[in-house]
Symmetry: C2
């Protein structure tokens, strides 16, 4: 274990960083079944009980690391218009989550169940925040915009469902079709 | 271990039934973290290696049991018309997967990754088969029907996404809205 520093917040952040890094390192080297809390702890230089106290169990830890991977590190690309912005963002999301690593990340996120800081809820919030930026930008340009909830339902949900459940994830042509559906005038409004 | 019978298929089916029943029994009695392959094996009267050989690991076993829970045991209710049939089926699906047990079942299904007999793919196939029956029945009545893929995208995907990712699953009013969207004339056709 690393020595106790004078600032608990500082140590807490260091433990978090070391444990996350240890998980990512093990994930790069070993099959999923060989990743255990004692192995993570040893690599991070902390005790297993530190990991259990903070994360509960391996599932919660892997979900926390996975949610962190899905945290956006910059605002969505400004491609000049709502449709182009959505196509760029959604295309990037599909590419990210439909790779073998991306599918594993989504599965890890969903596997955890601890309310209220649900990792899956964090990912949903990241998606809505990025879409919110795109929609606000479009509104600022004077474009007609659908509610973020409608884009989530019409575009993000089918993409995510296809990655998690279907034998093949959706393709780029499907992304265009779904974005156009989200942008089309509607009979029934999304909540 | 139970004695080897003369019919390997018979023994195989008995092992499957005993192991599934042991998992369901443990799930009813213990928190998720306390379910282990040795405990399941002991309760089922088989060796842990039998379980590992057949299912790979605990995640795959739990996914197999979860997919089995989602297997429909009867055709969808005939409520007299396409919209009514869809509302009944989708409402039942939402009720099933939005309970705490149902959410855990969906999470278990999604957590496994072994191709090609992916438990999540089996669940997707169950859903499409039930929707296929509803759509064929409606076609037989002379109703205009959307493709099953469109119903999956427009209705099942948002419901499933809401259960897995959002802080609150969708409600009955959302089900009506989504079904009406799936049945509305479209600009862009689903693949």
């Amino acid at each position: 274990m690393s020595p106790e520093g004078p600032r608990p917040g500082g140590r807490s952040a260091r433990v978090q960083a070391a444990v996350h890094q240890a998980v990512r390192g093990l994930q790069a080297e070993r099959p999923r079944g060989e990743i255990t809390v004692p192995r993570v702890a040893a690599r991070a230089g902390v005790t297993p009980s530190t990991v259990y106290r903070r994360w509960g169990d391996l599932t919660e830890l892997l979900a926390d690391v996975a949610a962190e991977r899905l945290r956006p590190d910059r605002p969505p690309v400004d491609a000049g218009g709502l449709r182009a912005d959505l196509l760029a963002y959604v295309g990037g999301y599909l590419e990210e989550v439909s790779s073998p690593t991306g599918r594993a990340v989504l599965r890890d996120v969903v596997a955890a169940s601890s309310a209220p800081e649900l990792p899956a809820g964090r990912c949903d919030a990241y998606v809505r925040a990025q879409l919110g930026i795109i929609v606000e930008r479009a509104r600022g340009r004077g474009e007609r915009v659908p509610p973020v909830a409608r884009i989530v339902e019409t575009v993000m949900a089918p993409i995510t469902y296809s990655v998690l459940f279907a034998s093949a994830p959706l393709a780029a042509a499907d992304v265009r079709r779904l974005v156009d559906t989200a942008l089309a005038p509607t009979v029934t409004a999304a909540g």
